[in-house]
């Protein structure tokens, strides 16, 4: 599982600016970053008149545009996705996901706070707060970094989220719903699956395995 870290804080506290500074620090350390922006009000991203815009206007649920160096996707959804949903369904080939917002999600958080703007923090360690970035000191039992110390925060993130994860992980989703698995069941499934596919041509000692079973859609059952 790719680790997720949320940058939270009041409006205009400097979340986007901190993320802009963290990305190059993490990139320089050899990690690939995905970002997730939470927008509760909806957003416009496609441009009127483009082919993808025309597909969407015609009622496509999902539109994708793919070129040799970039891919973009826009899709409808019927609920506000959790960060875990987003990781599972859409994020590939990165080392860490940094989200902007998602204060109420369960993922680990760094809170950004500026004295001129607020006295109280939004989060405490019960909210899975792991660090603070601020222009004054806070005593919440978690490390507090200067709001401009992106390098120090990046070192903290690497140590906390990127170096200390080596355990095998198995995730299972059935008909779109996550099934929770105990470590015992994960290890059982890991052994069964790696054993089952080990004899197939092209399978050596895999780091990542994805299996998709699709027994076929019964058409026109939806809507």
């Amino acid at each position: 599982m790719v680790p997720i870290l949320s940058i939270v804080g009041k409006s205009d506290s400097g979340k986007t600016t901190l993320i802009e500074r963290l990305i190059p620090e993490l990139t320089r350390r050899g990690y690939r970053v995905a970002t997730v922006k939470h927008d509760l009000h909806g957003f416009d991203i496609d441009r009127e008149g483009k082919d993808t815009w025309r597909h969407k206007q015609a009622g496509a649920h999902t539109v994708i545009i793919s070129s040799p160096n970039k891919l973009a996707l826009i899709r409808e959804t019927d609920r506000d996705h959790s960060l875990d949903d987003i990781r599972r369904a859409f994020v590939r080939d990165v080392d860490i996901i940094i989200s902007e917002g998602y204060k109420n999600d369960t993922q680990p958080k760094i809170e950004v706070s500026r004295a001129a703007q607020q006295q109280e923090l939004l989060c405490d360690p019960r909210d899975n707060l792991v660090a603070i970035a601020s222009d004054r000191s806070h005593d919440r039992g978690v490390p507090c970094f200067d709001i401009n110390d992106a390098a120090g925060l990046a070192d903290f993130i690497v140590k906390r989220f990127l170096l200390e994860r080596a355990l095998p992980k198995v995730a299972l989703r059935v008909d779109g719903a996550d099934i929770s698995l105990t470590p015992f069941v994960q290890n059982f499934m890991l052994g069964t699956i790696t054993g089952m596919i080990g004899a197939l041509r092209g399978v050596g000692s895999p780091r990542q395995v994805e299996i998709l079973v699709d027994r076929g859609v019964e058409p026109a059952k939806r809507g």
Copy 2:
């Protein structure tokens, strides 16, 4: 596997227009459609100054914006993805994928052709051509529809791609590479997996199962 159908044809033959007409016809019949546009020249989609644009400018590999009714993703890629790649990695919860372009991909194709614009078709049945939409008749051994007959084409698509698929399918990807599976191996894996997960709480008689095994990334090995 969600079926894929490519709408191909020369530039300005009317591909986008045909897709715009097919989407509501398929939607009306109860199917959800995803579209994929092939763009060999690159494209701009995000807007300067937006938070997602700032994340991307700072070097994020992937940026996502998520709201309760829409989700968008923009990511870098190092190659031109096949339609199968795109289906596997990015498409969820739809019944059919209609692509615009991808003449050289292996997926089934409908060619759009207008007499005023071209005499010869681009494809023949060896290219997996399954139908033609044109303002004149063509004899290529596949059905030829009037270019304006979106309803007739939609009926054809439903019959050909949506009603006639009921077989269990298992797809396996190891460290990002597709592993081809014989029907025997697919059935073996299907039985093993459904047996293995059948006793778990929350798993009834699943239609779709996704399993992700991730034994952990060794950090900073990349780049």
